[in-house]
């Protein structure tokens, strides 16, 4: 099992969710985050003083997947979240040792 972490633009959430559903992945956890990277922020103005906002709003998706699902999930995210502009985000994949569904106690592949 792996945990896929995707940092995406907030506007892409619906597209990514639909793409994930299409490859049979129906669960995920979404976090509001702020991203810092190459993407330039915008300038704001407050009482005559300008300043840059360079922590930009992003969404982080955590998706636990079984090994056979992995590539399909990654492809689905990369495709759906792609706009071609700086700041589209990243996908990170990490090893997942155990997964447990609290409601039933099912574990691993059954818990996802």
């Amino acid at each position: 099992m792996q945990l896929v972490i995707a940092i995406i633009k907030p506007s892409k959430l619906t597209d990514v969710r639909d793409a994930l559903a299409a490859v049979g992945c129906r669960g995920m956890t979404v976090t509001e985050v702020r991203g810092f990277g190459r993407q330039q922020g915008h300038t704001e103005l407050y009482r005559g003083a300008e300043y840059r906002i360079d922590l930009l709003p992003k969404l982080r998706l955590d998706i636990a997947v079984t090994d056979p699902q992995l590539n399909a999930v990654i492809d689905a995210i990369v495709e759906a979240a792609h706009s071609g502009q700086t700041g589209d985000g990243k996908v990170f994949v990490m090893p997942l040792l155990q997964a447990i569904r609290i409601r039933t106690g099912e574990i691993n592949a059954n818990a996802i």
Partner: protein, 395 residues
Amino acid sequence: MPIEQTAVDTLSYALNTFYLLISAALVMWMAAGFAMLEAGLVRSKNTAEILVKNMLLYAIACVCYLLVGYRLMYGDVQTPSHAPAANFFFQVVFVATAMSIISGAVAERMKLKSFLVFCVVMCGFIYPIQGSWSWGGGFLADAGFRDFAGSGIVHLVGAAAALAGVLLLGPRKGKYGHSGAIYPIPGANMPLASLGTFILWFGWFGFNAGSQLQLTGIDNTNAVAAAFVNTNAAAATGAIAAYVVTQWRWGKADLTMILNGALAGLVAITAAPVTPSPYLASAIGAGAGVLVIISIYALERLRIDDPVGAISVHGVVGIYGLLAVVWSDPEAQLLAQLIGIGVLAGWSFAVSAVVWWLLKRSMGLRIHAEAEYVGADVSECGLEAYPEFVSVRRP
């Protein structure tokens, strides 16, 4: 020592002036009501911009009406019963109301500068010219058109201009999907929207009762008192009716519909706040509360995107209010009312459409798609309304 008539006249002059000034101040306060209502019903990313619009439209209305509009509308006014300045002040705040209606309907997607240019034209010309036809003693007045405090002259005119703008502007991105899908875009701050409605309710006493223009004399005094009672009654039943409809239809109490219901009651009674009994006023308000929900629902299906329901509240209900005049005012005739409705709505819609269209061709009406996504606050004002609060970005 017996005294002269003149001492009493002087006192009466003072009292009438004060009554008109306080009424006008209450109407000025309605500008805050519109600002809060609209700031509550847009998304947080467009809140600062709508506040800028509301502050500036009021300011521009004051300047344009001072420079041009007042004379266009009333010519040389004689106000023996009260100070001329009080008369001007009472009229100037009405213009701002008409303009406030528009800002809500075009919210979240219109360019600030184009809006402000329209504001100049509206307050300097479109509004005062039609105003001269009725309140200014023109042909609509002669035709027997009755609109006591402006269901038509203020509210319908504002809503017709708003409708023209909305049609040329199109709906907000993400509001309508393919094959008829409608996506609600909830406003970000319900307490603000409710506060705005309460402010409007409160300010409306000045709007309607002030329109008697004179307080002294038993009949005038009673008319002013009746306007207070009826205004309040219609707003109350408007809110209740809207609640009953939403509860019955959807099983829930839809707050923003209830707010619109109260406002609809207020708009409806504005055309004749003095003549109805409180019972009739209550009935008129209740009708308005039902009508406004039907209208909002219908406009939604027609894909006319009006974030705050201004076209329904002020336009559709404004027409209803003008027609309802005949129920209580023996001097009113259905035909004259219909003519008035046609003229006002037609004038305002047509001229506004031309102005909006010219703006669209020149400066552009709509903010860039990217700016709309990020929010007008950042693109137009360079600032966020709630910069410290993490917010769920809605498309």
